[in-house]
């Protein structure tokens, strides 16, 4: 099981350093508050509609990024350093220390799905499959639009479920992974 960490961590660290082709989308822009300026209405636009000023509510939630546009997310060097460190610790068999380093990284960059995924990997290596599954789900919740990351999470969830003897659940998770990232 430790092997999983040994293999996955270096690959991801490298990926972080060089910038992956499809990492998590950049955090959304803060909510736009533009009193008086009409936000585009998602109806067919007639000239009449455009000339009538629309009084919108002050709060306009941000639009969702398109699912298929991969956005290169620049990882803070501090996070990269901690990932490297966690990798070394995992390689040395110090799994709990690796987890502690990943928690440090999460403290710095709490919405980074890659970090939560790594933590899930470490927990799985420690035999904590229930927590591993939860952490992978957390990673998923932060990886909207990032199919590659989601597929990895679902594969990890499948593995965690197998270890809990949940064969049906594991198969369903595998299926989700294949849908997201057929390979």
């Amino acid at each position: 099981m430790r092997l999983a960490v040994l293999v996955v961590l270096p690959v991801l660290a490298q990926c972080l350093l060089q910038g992956c082709s499809s990492t998590a989308p950049r955090e959304q822009a803060p909510p736009v508050i533009d009193k008086g300026q009409p936000a585009p209405v998602q109806q067919s636009e007639s000239t009449a509609a455009v000339t009538v000023p629309v009084q919108t509510r002050p709060y306009v939630p941000p639009p969702l990024p398109s699912q298929e546009t991969p956005v290169v997310r620049s990882q803070p060097p501090a996070v990269v350093a901690l990932l490297d460190h966690a990798e070394q610790q995992a390689n040395a068999g110090e799994l709990e220390s690796a987890a502690a380093s990943l928690e440090r990284a999460i403290r710095i960059d709490p919405r980074n799905p890659v970090l939560w995924y790594h933590l899930a990997t470490v927990r799985l290596s420690q035999g904590e499959s229930v927590q591993a599954e939860q952490l992978a789900a957390k990673s998923n919740s932060l990886a909207a639009g990032n199919r590659t990351q989601q597929a990895k999470n679902w594969r990890l969830i499948a593995q965690a479920r197998r270890e809990q003897n949940n064969t049906g659940g594991a198969a369903a998770a595998e299926q989700r992974a294949r849908e997201l990232d057929p390979r």
Partner: protein, 788 residues
């Protein structure tokens, strides 16, 4: 006769023999007693030395400040952190614990520190600030970028045993040689040659004293002094002196000089701080100079060594002149023994005492937070282990957040009391601040006076939560997207429920008005009681209790209809646990105050790891969060944006209880959650609602926590639609008050509002289930369901 005489003589001889043997026996008996006594003393000596020599209080550390480019911290905050760590400003930093500042650039030599995950080396760092963040972090010598560095953590408190003995344990190899040299020079020059007692030392001490014209040296060896400190009372008697000598010999017999010296350095009494006894040079260094022993200079070592003779008589704070004279005498002796050059001695003698100003610090700076830490520890450790095993406890406390919270509470409560014409000191408060994703408790206030270690309201005040419970009701609804959306119209017209026992319950709105049909998101945003009560009973109390359980609410809840309006008592910490689940995207995240516990020798004992549990689906959590965003944009919480910038994404909920007894606000940004309670210990009216009281404290606090991160990252299975709030139907540009709302995919209404021009869109489609106004069953029907 002769016979008789003979017999008599025999008798006498026997008598003498008997008398002799009595003395002999007595001697043997005394010898055995003496030997037994020595064996007993020997046992004492070895027991003390080999076993636990000192009970070491647990040390509690704040989170270490992680330095990296991009960190949101102002140069002033950074400076306050350095001050809390007693880093000294100097022209050019040359030793760990020193820093210099040149405008926005700090140059510092950080201290090495043993963390859970290994030692952090001391580093030479250049920290460049720009705005309120670290723009650049680089190495002081090579100027190369440093990706991450960790400062030593601020010591925020200790858990002492009952007798209040404190100590910072030293190992001999970490003690500067100048200090031990000075100590041996002054107290016991023959230390390395005698056998524990040194008669000639007494003679020499006499000579030295005569030459110096006063008492410079004492006659007892360091070993004797140690024994005195260690095992004996301070009574002055011959028996004690004899005991001391025997034990000193025994100590020397069992242990080598280095072991004895190390024990002495840790044991010697060097001062008093209130009821806390300052033992050992390690703690004395912090007590007098606020920094570790290794960072002191020679005259400071001399001062400490001088104190051995009489910590009270030579107390440098109370008797600076005596202390100075004593220190200079020590320096002279050091020069005389060529431990330092005469020039060094002259320079050192010219320097100031350098003792930090005496503040009788409350032993624990943050008693309410430490109370939380201690309660967590008590689950895993016995009380005596907490106070005597020298545990090192690494907590989640963020001193910056804690200081801000304390200041804000103090200022705002005064203003509120003045505004309400209340007597000063009437109001009480409690607050908790956590990190959104990690559930780490960053700051905690158990009352308005942060230094008061009494009733911890954040943990122990069980107060009615009022409308803080409403999001659980609305979440229960939003988890059924086919029945309820943010646009669903709720009925806010008056209603009365009669329980089977005849009790009547007639929920009323705070503004005493009814608002007809209101879209769901507005009913929550404006905290309407009537529509919430109708909705809650429609959903069923049991299903709302189930939601509360998923959110992390553990205590007993009465399944009465009034529960939906917040008839439940919770502590601020329990409320925090519930809101943590909303804030962290629907993941129940156990609150943590401790990250790790290390033994005194830095062996890892326990970690308190980050853990999460998916409790609420992403989409409904996004919807309820959005409703809480509206609560602060246009509902009861809108006062927030009077001072916070509109660009700051916030979700929150006010809470007010009957007769204005409790004023609550629970709110979160993308990275922090804060829960504030204001009330009175006598449970009388505060005259404050959630928005006129607690919200203002929250607002004052979160001005310091500006963060551009939005609350919930992008969520899949959510789509936005323009909605006409009057009808809950689709709107377009022709609708004056249209609002863009999120929906679980597929749950948005398809019917168009009347304001949509007929020629523009598709009309006439019948609304799908769950859209537009729900025809709710008569109240009597579901009342029956509840009570029968």
């Amino acid at each position: 006769m002769a016979k008789r005489r003979k017999r008599g003589r025999k008798k006498a001889r026997r008598k003498v023999a008997r008398r002799r043997s009595v003395w002999g026996w007595l001697f043997v008996f005394l010898a055995i007693l003496m030997a037994g006594y020595i064996v007993w003393l020997d046992y004492q000596v070895r027991h003390q030395f080999a076993g636990k020599r000192w009970s070491l209080p647990a040390r509690v550390y704040a989170r270490p400040l992680e330095l990296y480019a991009g960190l949101e911290v102002s140069s002033e905050q950074f400076l306050s952190e350095l001050r809390a760590l007693h880093y000294r400003p100097v022209i050019t930093p040359q030793a760990p614990g020193q820093f210099s500042r040149n405008g926005n650039v700090f140059h510092l030599l950080s201290r090495p520190f043993d963390f859970w995950d290994g030692q952090e080396a001391g580093r030479d760092l250049l920290v460049t600030f720009s705005g309120n963040r670290i723009a650049k972090l680089s190495a002081g010598n090579s100027r190369q970028a440093v990706s991450l560095a960790r400062l030593d953590p601020v010591l925020v408190g200790s858990f002492y045993p009952a007798h209040n003995e404190d100590r910072v344990l030293l190992q001999l190899d970490a003690v500067p040689v100048s200090l031990t040299d000075a100590l041996i020079a002054i107290e016991d020059r023959g230390f390395y040659s005698h056998l524990g007692v040194a008669p000639q030392a007494i003679l020499r001490a006499l000579l030295v004293n005569i030459r110096a014209g006063g008492v410079v040296q004492g006659g007892s060896t360091l070993t004797q002094q140690l024994v005195k400190n260690f095992f004996l009372s301070s009574e002055r008697s011959l028996v004690r002196k004899a005991n001391e000598a025997i034990m000193a010999l025994l100590v020397e017999w069992h242990y080598n000089k280095d072991e004895i010296l190390e024990a002495y350095l840790n044991e010697v009494y060097l001062g008093q701080d209130g009821n806390r006894a300052i033992h050992g040079f390690g703690l004395a260094s912090y007590f007098y100079f606020e920094r570790p022993l290794t960072e002191l200079s020679v005259e400071q070592y001399a001062l400490l060594v001088g104190l051995v003779k009489g910590p009270s008589y030579y107390n440098p704070r109370r008797h600076p002149e005596r202390a100075r004279a004593r220190r200079n005498l020590v320096l002279d002796v050091m020069a005389e023994l060529e431990l330092i050059t005469p020039e060094e001695a002259a320079r050192a003698k010219a320097r100031k005492l350098g003792v930090s100003s005496f503040k009788r610090k409350a032993i624990n700076t943050f008693p309410a937070f430490l109370d939380l830490v201690r309660r967590r520890l008590q689950r895993d450790y016995r009380d005596e282990d907490i106070t005597s095993e020298g545990l090192r406890i690494f907590t989640t406390l963020d001193p910056q957040a804690q200081w801000q919270l304390e200041q804000v509470l103090e200022k705002r409560l005064k203003v509120l009391e003045t505004g309400r014409k209340l007597k000063a000191g009437t109001l009480e408060a409690a607050a908790v601040v956590t990190s959104v994703q990690g559930g780490e408790v960053l700051a905690l206030a158990g009352g308005r006076n942060p230094k008061f270690a009494g009733f911890n309201r954040a943990l122990d005040a069980q107060r009615q939560v009022g409308s803080l419970l409403k999001p659980a009701v609305y979440l229960t609804a939003l988890e059924q997207p086919q029945r309820y959306t943010l646009a669903t119209l709720l009925d806010d017209s008056p209603v009365t429920y009669t329980a089977r026992n005849g009790d009547q319950w007639e929920p009323r709105n705070y503004d005493k008005k009814n608002h007809g049909d209101v879209p769901l998101y507005q009913a929550l945003a404006h905290s309407y009681n009537v529509s919430t009560a109708r909705l809650g009973l429609e959903l069923g109390i049991e299903s709302i209790i189930k939601t509360l359980r998923r959110l992390g609410v553990k205590q007993h809840l009465n399944p009465y209809p009034s529960l939906v309006l917040g008839a439940a008592e919770m502590s601020p910490l329990q409320v925090t646990r519930m809101y943590q689940t909303f804030a962290s995207g629907g993941f129940r995240t156990p609150l943590r105050a401790i990250n790790a516990v290390l033994a005194a020798d830095n062996a890892p004992l326990q970690r308190y790891p980050l853990s999460v549990h998916a409790a609420i689906e992403q989409a409904p959590n996004y919807l309820i969060t959005t409703a809480m965003r509206y609560a602060v944009r246009e509902g009861t919480g809108r006062g927030i944006y009077q001072t916070l910038p509109g660009s700051q994404d916030i979700a929150g909920k006010t809470g007010t209880t009957d007769d204005l007894r409790d004023s609550w606000f629970a709110g979160f940004t993308g990275d922090r959650l804060g829960v504030v309670w204001i009330g009175r210990d006598d449970n009388q009216s505060t005259g404050l609602t959630g928005s006129t009281g607690a919200l203002r404290v929250w607002r004052d606090l979160f001005v310091h926590f500006a963060n551009p991160v939005p609350i919930q990252a992008a969520v899949e299975d959510i789509e936005y639609r323009w909605i006409d709030p009057k009808t809950g139907f689709l709107a377009d540009a022709g609708c004056p008050d249209a609002v863009q709302l999120p929906f679980s995919t597929g749950s948005a209404p398809v019917q168009h509002a009347p304001c949509v021009k007929a020629d523009q869109g598709i009309t006439g489609k019948p609304p799908a289930a769950g859209q537009g106004k729900r025809s709710s069953p008569g109240p009597v029907d579901w009342f029956k369901e509840l009570f029968e």
